[in-house]
Amino acid sequence: MPARGMRRAFVPLAILAGAMLAYSPVVVADASYEPTMGLVQKIFYYHAPSWFAMFTAVFTCGIASAVYLVRQDPRADRVAVAAAELATLFGLLGLVTGPLWARKAWGVWWQWDARLTMALLLEMIFLAYLLVRRYGGPGSDKLAAAMAVFGMANVPFVYVSVNIWRTIHPTTQVVPTLGPGMRGAFWYCVLAFMLLYSVLFAARVRLEHDRARLDELHLAEGE
Protein backbone atom coordinates (compact mmCIF):
# COMPACT_ATOMS: atom_id res chain seq x y z
CA MET A 1 0.00 0.00 0.00
CA PRO A 2 2.71 2.53 0.84
CA ALA A 3 4.47 1.56 -2.40
CA ARG A 4 1.28 2.31 -4.35
CA GLY A 5 0.95 5.67 -2.53
CA MET A 6 4.57 6.50 -3.41
CA ARG A 7 3.94 5.55 -7.04
CA ARG A 8 0.92 7.87 -7.13
CA ALA A 9 2.93 10.73 -5.61
CA PHE A 10 5.87 10.17 -7.97
CA VAL A 11 4.45 11.79 -11.12
CA PRO A 12 3.15 15.01 -9.44
CA LEU A 13 6.41 15.29 -7.49
CA ALA A 14 8.49 14.79 -10.66
CA ILE A 15 6.46 17.47 -12.48
CA LEU A 16 6.79 19.84 -9.52
CA ALA A 17 10.56 19.25 -9.24
CA GLY A 18 11.03 19.80 -13.00
CA ALA A 19 8.91 22.96 -12.98
CA MET A 20 10.73 24.35 -9.95
CA LEU A 21 14.12 23.73 -11.56
CA ALA A 22 12.94 25.24 -14.85
CA TYR A 23 11.74 28.38 -13.05
CA SER A 24 14.79 28.65 -10.77
CA PRO A 25 16.86 30.88 -13.15
CA VAL A 26 14.04 33.45 -13.04
CA VAL A 27 13.99 33.36 -9.22
CA VAL A 28 17.80 33.64 -9.12
CA ALA A 29 17.78 36.55 -11.59
CA ASP A 30 15.25 38.38 -9.38
CA ALA A 31 17.36 37.87 -6.23
CA SER A 32 19.35 40.82 -4.86
CA TYR A 33 22.69 41.64 -6.45
CA GLU A 34 25.64 40.85 -4.21
CA PRO A 35 27.91 43.95 -4.39
CA THR A 36 31.23 42.38 -3.27
CA MET A 37 31.35 39.41 -5.63
CA GLY A 38 29.00 40.75 -8.26
CA LEU A 39 27.11 38.66 -10.78
CA VAL A 40 29.18 35.50 -10.26
CA GLN A 41 27.61 35.10 -6.79
CA LYS A 42 24.49 33.78 -8.59
CA ILE A 43 26.30 30.41 -8.98
CA PHE A 44 25.88 30.03 -5.20
CA TYR A 45 22.12 29.34 -5.71
CA TYR A 46 22.95 26.08 -7.49
CA HIS A 47 26.28 25.32 -5.78
CA ALA A 48 25.12 25.18 -2.13
CA PRO A 49 21.86 23.25 -2.83
CA SER A 50 23.94 20.65 -4.73
CA TRP A 51 25.88 20.01 -1.50
CA PHE A 52 22.62 19.89 0.52
CA ALA A 53 21.42 17.11 -1.80
CA MET A 54 24.86 15.44 -1.75
CA PHE A 55 24.98 15.36 2.07
CA THR A 56 21.40 14.01 2.22
CA ALA A 57 22.39 11.25 -0.21
CA VAL A 58 25.53 10.48 1.81
CA PHE A 59 23.56 10.19 5.06
CA THR A 60 20.91 8.02 3.36
CA CYS A 61 23.62 5.76 1.94
CA GLY A 62 25.57 5.63 5.23
CA ILE A 63 22.54 4.82 7.39
CA ALA A 64 21.20 2.24 4.91
CA SER A 65 24.67 0.66 4.73
CA ALA A 66 24.90 0.46 8.53
CA VAL A 67 21.46 -1.21 8.60
CA TYR A 68 22.62 -3.62 5.89
CA LEU A 69 25.79 -4.49 7.81
CA VAL A 70 23.85 -5.14 11.03
CA ARG A 71 20.65 -6.78 9.73
CA GLN A 72 21.75 -8.12 6.31
CA ASP A 73 18.54 -6.70 4.85
CA PRO A 74 18.84 -6.57 1.03
CA ARG A 75 16.30 -3.71 0.86
CA ALA A 76 18.70 -1.52 2.84
CA ASP A 77 21.48 -2.43 0.40
CA ARG A 78 19.32 -1.35 -2.57
CA VAL A 79 18.62 1.99 -0.89
CA ALA A 80 22.36 2.42 -0.22
CA VAL A 81 23.34 1.77 -3.86
CA ALA A 82 20.71 4.22 -5.13
CA ALA A 83 21.82 6.92 -2.67
CA ALA A 84 25.53 6.39 -3.44
CA GLU A 85 24.96 7.08 -7.13
CA LEU A 86 23.06 10.27 -6.29
CA ALA A 87 25.75 11.33 -3.81
CA THR A 88 28.29 11.06 -6.64
CA LEU A 89 26.05 12.99 -9.05
CA PHE A 90 25.27 15.90 -6.71
CA GLY A 91 28.86 15.95 -5.47
CA LEU A 92 30.00 16.32 -9.07
CA LEU A 93 27.59 19.26 -9.53
CA GLY A 94 29.07 20.93 -6.44
CA LEU A 95 32.64 20.25 -7.53
CA VAL A 96 32.07 21.72 -11.00
CA THR A 97 30.01 24.78 -10.03
CA GLY A 98 32.41 25.68 -7.18
CA PRO A 99 35.52 26.23 -9.35
CA LEU A 100 33.45 28.21 -11.87
CA TRP A 101 32.59 30.62 -9.06
CA ALA A 102 36.10 30.50 -7.58
CA ARG A 103 37.77 31.48 -10.86
CA LYS A 104 36.10 34.89 -10.64
CA ALA A 105 35.91 35.30 -6.86
CA TRP A 106 39.37 34.00 -5.90
CA GLY A 107 41.23 34.24 -9.21
CA VAL A 108 41.97 30.50 -9.22
CA TRP A 109 39.95 27.45 -10.27
CA TRP A 110 41.03 25.33 -7.32
CA GLN A 111 42.80 25.67 -3.98
CA TRP A 112 44.07 22.70 -1.97
CA ASP A 113 42.58 23.95 1.29
CA ALA A 114 40.81 21.85 3.94
CA ARG A 115 37.24 22.29 2.66
CA LEU A 116 37.89 21.72 -1.02
CA THR A 117 40.24 18.80 -0.47
CA MET A 118 37.86 17.07 1.97
CA ALA A 119 34.91 17.61 -0.36
CA LEU A 120 36.92 16.03 -3.20
CA LEU A 121 37.84 13.10 -0.92
CA LEU A 122 34.17 12.61 -0.03
CA GLU A 123 33.29 12.49 -3.73
CA MET A 124 36.10 10.00 -4.33
CA ILE A 125 34.89 7.75 -1.48
CA PHE A 126 31.46 7.44 -3.13
CA LEU A 127 32.97 7.04 -6.57
CA ALA A 128 35.06 4.22 -5.08
CA TYR A 129 31.86 2.78 -3.54
CA LEU A 130 30.29 2.55 -7.00
CA LEU A 131 33.45 1.06 -8.55
CA VAL A 132 33.66 -1.56 -5.78
CA ARG A 133 30.00 -2.46 -6.34
CA ARG A 134 30.52 -2.68 -10.10
CA TYR A 135 33.82 -4.58 -10.25
CA GLY A 136 34.38 -5.93 -6.71
CA GLY A 137 32.80 -9.33 -7.25
CA PRO A 138 31.21 -11.46 -4.50
CA GLY A 139 31.31 -9.91 -1.03
CA SER A 140 31.88 -6.41 -2.36
CA ASP A 141 28.51 -5.29 -1.00
CA LYS A 142 29.78 -5.47 2.61
CA LEU A 143 33.09 -3.80 1.79
CA ALA A 144 31.21 -1.01 -0.01
CA ALA A 145 28.78 -0.66 2.93
CA ALA A 146 31.71 -0.14 5.31
CA MET A 147 33.10 2.50 2.92
CA ALA A 148 29.74 4.30 2.93
CA VAL A 149 29.67 4.42 6.74
CA PHE A 150 33.21 5.86 6.66
CA GLY A 151 32.09 8.39 4.01
CA MET A 152 29.14 9.45 6.17
CA ALA A 153 31.45 10.00 9.15
CA ASN A 154 33.46 12.35 6.91
CA VAL A 155 30.50 14.75 6.31
CA PRO A 156 30.60 16.67 9.64
CA PHE A 157 34.33 17.28 9.11
CA VAL A 158 33.70 18.61 5.59
CA TYR A 159 30.98 20.90 6.95
CA VAL A 160 32.91 22.40 9.88
CA SER A 161 36.29 22.41 8.13
CA VAL A 162 35.75 26.04 7.07
CA ASN A 163 35.29 27.08 10.71
CA ILE A 164 38.17 25.04 12.16
CA TRP A 165 40.97 25.56 9.63
CA ARG A 166 42.03 28.71 7.83
CA THR A 167 40.57 28.23 4.39
CA ILE A 168 39.77 30.43 1.42
CA HIS A 169 36.20 29.05 1.27
CA PRO A 170 33.37 31.11 2.91
CA THR A 171 32.35 29.89 6.39
CA THR A 172 29.08 28.21 7.40
CA GLN A 173 27.78 31.64 8.48
CA VAL A 174 26.94 32.63 4.89
CA VAL A 175 23.53 30.93 4.72
CA PRO A 176 22.20 32.11 8.14
CA THR A 177 23.24 35.70 7.37
CA LEU A 178 21.83 35.92 3.83
CA GLY A 179 19.98 39.15 3.12
CA PRO A 180 16.18 39.08 2.75
CA GLY A 181 16.52 39.63 -1.01
CA MET A 182 18.59 36.45 -1.37
CA ARG A 183 17.09 34.20 1.30
CA GLY A 184 13.90 33.40 -0.65
CA ALA A 185 15.76 32.51 -3.86
CA PHE A 186 18.25 30.37 -1.94
CA TRP A 187 15.64 28.31 -0.08
CA TYR A 188 13.60 28.01 -3.28
CA CYS A 189 16.63 26.43 -5.00
CA VAL A 190 17.29 24.19 -1.97
CA LEU A 191 13.68 22.97 -2.13
CA ALA A 192 13.93 22.39 -5.91
CA PHE A 193 17.15 20.38 -5.51
CA MET A 194 15.78 18.35 -2.59
CA LEU A 195 12.61 17.56 -4.54
CA LEU A 196 14.70 16.59 -7.52
CA TYR A 197 16.85 14.42 -5.28
CA SER A 198 13.72 12.69 -3.87
CA VAL A 199 12.34 12.00 -7.36
CA LEU A 200 15.65 10.67 -8.71
CA PHE A 201 16.15 8.63 -5.55
CA ALA A 202 12.68 7.02 -5.84
CA ALA A 203 13.35 6.17 -9.50
CA ARG A 204 16.80 4.78 -8.70
CA VAL A 205 15.50 2.62 -5.81
CA ARG A 206 12.82 1.31 -8.18
CA LEU A 207 15.57 0.32 -10.62
CA GLU A 208 17.43 -1.60 -7.89
CA HIS A 209 14.18 -3.28 -6.84
CA ASP A 210 13.46 -4.32 -10.45
CA ARG A 211 17.00 -5.67 -10.83
CA ALA A 212 16.55 -7.80 -7.70
CA ARG A 213 13.22 -9.09 -9.07
CA LEU A 214 14.93 -9.89 -12.39
CA ASP A 215 17.61 -11.88 -10.55
CA GLU A 216 14.84 -13.85 -8.79
CA LEU A 217 13.19 -14.57 -12.14
CA HIS A 218 16.49 -15.74 -13.64
CA LEU A 219 16.94 -18.10 -10.69
CA ALA A 220 13.38 -19.37 -11.11
CA GLU A 221 14.05 -19.98 -14.80
CA GLY A 222 17.22 -21.92 -14.01
CA GLU A 223 15.43 -24.29 -11.63
Binding site: L39, Y46, L89, V96, L217, E221
Partner: protein
Protein backbone atom coordinates in the same frame (compact mmCIF):
# COMPACT_ATOMS: atom_id res chain seq x y z
CA UNK B 1 68.53 14.86 -40.89
CA UNK B 2 65.63 14.40 -38.45
CA UNK B 3 67.40 16.59 -35.88
CA UNK B 4 67.85 19.31 -38.50
CA UNK B 5 64.18 19.16 -39.41
CA UNK B 6 63.17 19.44 -35.73
CA UNK B 7 65.42 22.48 -35.31
CA UNK B 8 63.88 24.11 -38.37
CA UNK B 9 60.34 23.52 -37.05
CA UNK B 10 61.30 24.90 -33.63
CA UNK B 11 62.92 28.04 -35.06
CA UNK B 12 60.07 28.71 -37.48
CA UNK B 13 57.48 28.30 -34.70
CA UNK B 14 59.47 30.75 -32.57
CA UNK B 15 59.53 33.22 -35.44
CA UNK B 16 55.80 32.83 -36.01
CA UNK B 17 54.93 33.49 -32.36
CA UNK B 18 57.37 36.37 -32.01
CA UNK B 19 54.86 39.06 -33.10
CA UNK B 20 52.40 37.88 -30.46
CA UNK B 21 55.05 38.24 -27.75
CA UNK B 22 56.10 41.63 -29.11
CA UNK B 23 52.52 42.94 -29.03
CA UNK B 24 51.88 41.97 -25.41
CA UNK B 25 51.25 45.01 -23.19
CA UNK B 26 53.72 45.75 -20.45
CA UNK B 27 52.45 44.72 -16.99
CA UNK B 28 51.82 47.61 -14.56
CA UNK B 29 54.75 48.35 -12.28
CA UNK B 30 52.81 50.03 -9.45
CA UNK B 31 49.47 49.70 -7.69
CA UNK B 32 46.41 49.96 -9.96
CA UNK B 33 42.93 50.29 -8.36
CA UNK B 34 40.54 47.57 -9.50
CA UNK B 35 38.13 50.06 -11.16
CA UNK B 36 40.98 51.41 -13.32
CA UNK B 37 42.04 48.06 -14.71
CA UNK B 38 41.91 47.66 -18.50
CA UNK B 39 38.89 45.75 -19.78
CA UNK B 40 41.07 42.78 -20.77
CA UNK B 41 42.07 42.26 -17.13
CA UNK B 42 38.49 41.85 -15.93
CA UNK B 43 37.05 38.33 -16.19
CA UNK B 44 33.41 38.40 -17.32
CA UNK B 45 31.06 36.58 -14.93
CA UNK B 46 28.30 35.73 -17.40
CA UNK B 47 30.08 32.83 -19.21
CA UNK B 48 30.97 31.27 -15.85
CA UNK B 49 27.35 31.49 -14.64
CA UNK B 50 26.00 30.11 -17.91
CA UNK B 51 28.55 27.27 -17.80
CA UNK B 52 27.61 26.42 -14.18
CA UNK B 53 23.85 26.42 -14.81
CA UNK B 54 24.18 24.59 -18.13
CA UNK B 55 26.37 21.91 -16.58
CA UNK B 56 23.84 21.28 -13.78
CA UNK B 57 20.94 21.08 -16.24
CA UNK B 58 22.77 18.81 -18.70
CA UNK B 59 24.12 16.51 -15.96
CA UNK B 60 20.68 16.12 -14.37
CA UNK B 61 19.06 15.52 -17.75
CA UNK B 62 21.66 12.92 -18.76
CA UNK B 63 21.28 11.15 -15.41
CA UNK B 64 17.48 11.14 -15.72
CA UNK B 65 17.82 9.73 -19.23
CA UNK B 66 20.20 7.01 -18.00
CA UNK B 67 17.75 5.94 -15.25
CA UNK B 68 14.93 5.92 -17.83
CA UNK B 69 16.92 3.72 -20.21
CA UNK B 70 18.11 1.34 -17.50
CA UNK B 71 14.56 1.01 -16.10
CA UNK B 72 13.18 0.35 -19.59
CA UNK B 73 15.81 -2.30 -20.28
CA UNK B 74 15.27 -4.14 -16.97
CA UNK B 75 11.47 -3.98 -17.28
CA UNK B 76 11.44 -5.32 -20.85
CA UNK B 77 13.79 -8.14 -19.78
CA UNK B 78 11.49 -8.88 -16.82
CA UNK B 79 8.42 -8.97 -19.06
CA UNK B 80 10.14 -11.38 -21.47
CA UNK B 81 11.23 -13.65 -18.61
CA UNK B 82 7.80 -13.58 -16.97
CA UNK B 83 6.20 -14.50 -20.30
CA UNK B 84 8.68 -17.36 -20.73
CA UNK B 85 8.11 -18.60 -17.18
CA UNK B 86 4.32 -18.18 -17.54
CA UNK B 87 4.37 -20.17 -20.78
CA UNK B 88 6.42 -22.92 -19.14
CA UNK B 89 4.02 -23.28 -16.16
CA UNK B 90 1.05 -23.08 -18.58
CA UNK B 91 2.27 -26.05 -20.63
CA UNK B 92 2.86 -28.19 -17.54
Amino acid sequence: MRMLRRCAVFISSLLLTAPAFAQQPQPPTGFVPVDQLPATESLPAAPLIIAAYAFVWVALFVYLLSIWRRLGKVESEMDALERRLGGRTGTR
